[in-house]
């Protein structure tokens, strides 16, 4: 690989210690346990029929290259968990992949009602088929176990080298609630996006077992029609909606933190932050007085707290 040298490094620190890591970074061989797919198979058109609406756009795009993708907007997951499986020894071709992909969806589609999302990726390196099945489920273990088993069974039945991933389910939640939350959130996003002057940010909350799903909206400029439309959409879906007047959007707060919060600020270190509609609260370790004076003239910083009082916060 040809590595282009930067035009200038006059302003750069000494990075000689990075040399071995740069060499590693540029080595294609060390990234990813599996060989790069040589072929992207086509996802059968019929598989989109039972997918939920929020998958429509990614599926439409994925249909071209055969990757079913649904971004897990609101849920955690644990990452890939390679499962040991047999490897098909025979060479395969595109039609074989296509057929298997169709079968995979046929086998797993019935479960789409349960998981929030799933996607199946079958690739071939010319010798073996790799099967990847991922799902994100806001439900309990009893519900997703059959899906997991079905995926494993499919991989085993077809001699696929499989990788099954799963997502941490939100406690006590069913997929209907998660689906409603996503769809409502999308509707509200679209509503406010039509009026950028509203200064909108929103957050979906989904892990309150007793209280159910709700959406928190911040906007700097109230626009009655949009607020009312958002409330109607939420009410129709059974989602609680809270709309707050804000001085700052979350995007502004996040941008401030990313741009301005350093590691060592001279006498104190910021150990955490919390965003509120009125500004950001910072927790600091070290000289509290210095920290407070440092941010005294910074309106976006709402408060400075000692690290010892730090509770729930977003790590920097």
């Amino acid at each position: 690989m040809t590595i282009r040298q930067p035009s200038t490094r006059r302003d750069d620190p000494d990075t000689s210690f990075l040399a071995p890591y740069q060499a590693t970074y540029r080595s294609n061989a060390v990234w990813g346990p599996e060989p790069a797919p040589r072929r992207f198979t086509s996802r059968p058109a019929t598989t989109g029929r039972s997918l939920s609406p929020w998958l429509a756009i990614p599926v439409a795009a994925a249909a071209v290259v055969g990757i079913a993708v649904a971004a897990p907007l609101a849920f955690d997951r644990t990452g890939d968990s390679p499962s040991g499986a047999a490897t098909a020894g025979a060479s395969v071709d595109a039609s074989t992949e296509q057929a298997l992909l169709s079968e995979a969806y046929a086998a797993l589609d019935p479960f789409n009602r349960v998981p929030a999302d799933f996607d199946v990726l079958i690739t071939s390196d010319g010798e073996a088929l790799n099967f990847s099945f991922r799902y994100w489920m806001p439900t309990d273990e009893a519900d997703y176990a059959p899906v997991h088993e079905a995926a494993l069974a499919f991989a085993a039945e077809h001699g696929l080298q499989g990788a099954i991933s799963e997502m941490i389910p939100a406690d006590g939640w069913g997929s209907d609630a998660a689906s409603a939350l996503r769809q409502t959130r999308s509707t509200i996003d679209t509503l406010y996006a039509s009026s950028p002057e509203a200064g909108y940010s929103a957050s979906s909350q989904f892990d309150l077992v007793d209280d159910g799903p709700w959406i928190l909206v911040w906007r700097t400029t109230p626009i009655a029609d949009i607020d009312e439309a958002a409330e109607s959409a939420a009410a129709a879906a059974g989602i609680k909606l809270q709309i707050l007047d804000a001085q700052w959007t979350q995007t502004q707060l996040e941008g401030y933190l990313e741009e301005n919060v350093g590691e060592d600020l001279g006498g104190f270190t910021i150990t955490g932050n919390k965003m509120t509609p009125s500004g950001v609260i910072l927790w600091v370790d070290g000289d509290l007085a210095t920290a407070q004076s440092t941010f005294a003239e910074t309106p976006i910083v709402l408060a400075i707290r000692p690290a010892s009082e730090q509770g729930s916060n977003v790590p920097l």
């Binding site: 690989m1 061989a29 990757i67 971004a71 990452g79 890939d80 957050s203």
Partner: protein, 180 residues
């Protein structure tokens, strides 16, 4: 022909994009999603009007997708450190693998913007101007984040203090460290 050329592009660029994605993202799965999303985008672009420099185009698309996903990060719980499944079995370590995991682990300890700047500047070899343009920040901010990021990386990647010499052996190589 189009498909064949796209496959060639994937074969050449996917590992590089994976390296970039896993280095600027704190989650392996999210990084892989980034790459996958970019590949979809590239295929659509490919059929319409193939970019003059497809890898550069894909890299830009990936970074912008990453930034966009970061802005949605408040919807998701932060995953600190490495995914448990990211950690290879010690017995499988060779030098390159060890360096790779040490690098990813170290990068993930940097604040997001520092991480992005360091990766783009020193691993993707973009100029300060290019990094600033790609991230939508000033060149001064790039320099500031670069200095802080490199300083912190130097600390993280520094070889661990030599243990008390044992009569029979002593390890001089940096030890892989994993933050839970």
């Amino acid at each position: 022909m189009t498909e064949a050329s796209f496959e060639e592009f994937i074969a050449a660029s996917q590992p590089r994009l994976t390296a970039l994605a896993r280095s600027i993202s704190r989650e392996t799965a999210a990084a892989d999603d980034l790459v996958q999303g970019v590949m979809e985008q590239m295929w659509i672009v490919w059929q319409k009007d193939r970019p003059v420099n497809p890898h550069s185009y894909a890299r830009t698309a990936l970074v912008r997708r990453h930034i966009s996903s970061q802005r949605r990060a408040h919807r998701r719980r932060e995953v600190l450190g490495m995914d448990p499944t990211d950690v290879p079995a010690p017995s499988s370590f060779d030098a390159a693998t060890s360096d790779r995991w040490m690098l990813v682990d170290a990068l993930r300890r940097l604040p997001p913007r520092q991480r992005e700047v360091v990766v783009l500047r020193y691993f993707e070899d973009l100029t300060i101007e290019e990094v600033a343009d790609l991230l939508g920040i000033s060149q001064g901010a790039v320099k500031r984040h670069a200095h802080r990021g490199v300083a912190r990386l130097r600390t993280i990647l520094a070889p661990a203090p030599a243990p008390t010499p044992a009569p029979e052996s002593r390890s001089a190589s940096p030890q892989f460290r994993f933050s839970p």
